[in-house]
Symmetry: C2
Subunit: 185 residues, 2 copies
DNA sequence: TACTCTAGAGAACGGTCGTTCTCAGTTCAA
DNA sequence: TTGAACTGAGAACGACCGTTCTCTAGAGTA
């Protein structure tokens, strides 16, 4: 098996397991079983669990933000693009296996003990906030709106994760529309 | 030492440690050392770690919501009472040792493996949401506003926890005021 | 075929942690 | 004073987990 393929399989397995059950609850042995990559090779690719966790969060970050951008780009109208963020959240919340935001969960679990995990959570949230900033700017709306929208989105992720329902996305979308309208007047 | 006193000391120590470092990262031995209560007695009071975790979250729930209500009750005007929730968050975020919402963190860490923890997170968040509902109703505002305010508050907690700053509370307060104004017109 | 190298399976190691047990000291009733 | 019951300190136990090691089988090569 190619080394790149093995790496991919490990990251796939680790991604599913870490996200679904939490990081500390998943052992390296289980990742080996799920990925079909031997322990020896696994440790050749990722010399320690920390590094696998880091790679997991990194890869998920680009995938998550990529999917979001892809969804938003289907809309042309600047205001609709802002609201499309919440539509995307709604779709995400409804996916099978949805269990909240991976970075919020990882931060809650390891933020206090791992500076790397904490930094990655901050980086991911900053990037998301930054992205909202560009959407808001493109719509000619005041910058401070982006922070407010980010709070709505974060709140929706947390609430949807805990209650296993997509409704928070709809509430957040509605609130976002009202804030946009208020900012415009 | 009285049994009630020992219980109190254990819960104090466990509260500080669990909240500050996460639940799985804190061993029973450390709680014994921090509380000064022997392991034997600790296990007589809480036959398993799960039960101590449960008691920790339960006690924190009543304390947290009690403090919130106490702060809100200092205001008479119904609209100001709603905004006082966010003032309270701001004060809380600035406290030393603040590390986000204990239930969001616990859910991220154990929500997938412990049905009890998941249920307690839901109960706490439901109670908070319910409380916002009464404030909104007292102000003669539409019920759906409560859900939106809850999302802002949750988002502020998450963001403040990850970035160690109180600013999200101010942003959320501002957004809340705008949503209240929008709902009234 | 015989040799070498690689890689996988899983046993083994060392440490941690939840939980229980031992033992010595203390209290207190008779 | 004696003995029974309790208590605390911490050792011990058993399970788990991250990481390393061993052993064996197979592939490639001369």
């Amino acid at each position: 098996m190619d080394s790149a393929v093995a790496r991919e399989r490990v990251l796939d397995a680790a991604g599913t397991l870490f996200y679904g059950r939490g990081i500390q609850s998943v052992g390296m042995d289980e990742i080996r079983t799920a990925s079909g990559v031997s322990l020896k090779r696994l440790y050749a690719l990722f010399p320690a669990k920390d590094q696998l966790v880091e790679a997991y969060l990194e890869r998920r970050d680009t995938a998550w933000r990529g999917r979001l951008a892809q969804h938003v780009e289907q809309r042309a109208d600047p205001t609709e693009r802002i609201l499309a963020v919440f539509d995307h959240l709604h779709r995400w919340f409804g996916e099978p296996g949805f269990r909240g935001c991976a970075w919020i969960n990882a931060y809650g679990e390891l933020g206090a003990s791992s500076a790397r995990v904490a930094a990655q959570a901050r980086a991911h949230k900053s990037a998301f906030r930054e992205y909202l900033g560009t959407l808001v700017a493109d719509a000619g709306l005041p910058e401070r709106l982006a922070g407010q929208l980010a709070l709505l989105a974060e709140g929706a992720m947390v609430t949807a994760g805990i209650f296993h329902t997509g409704e928070p996305a709809l509430q957040a979308r509605e609130a976002a529309a009202e804030l946009v309208a208020a900012a415009r007047s």
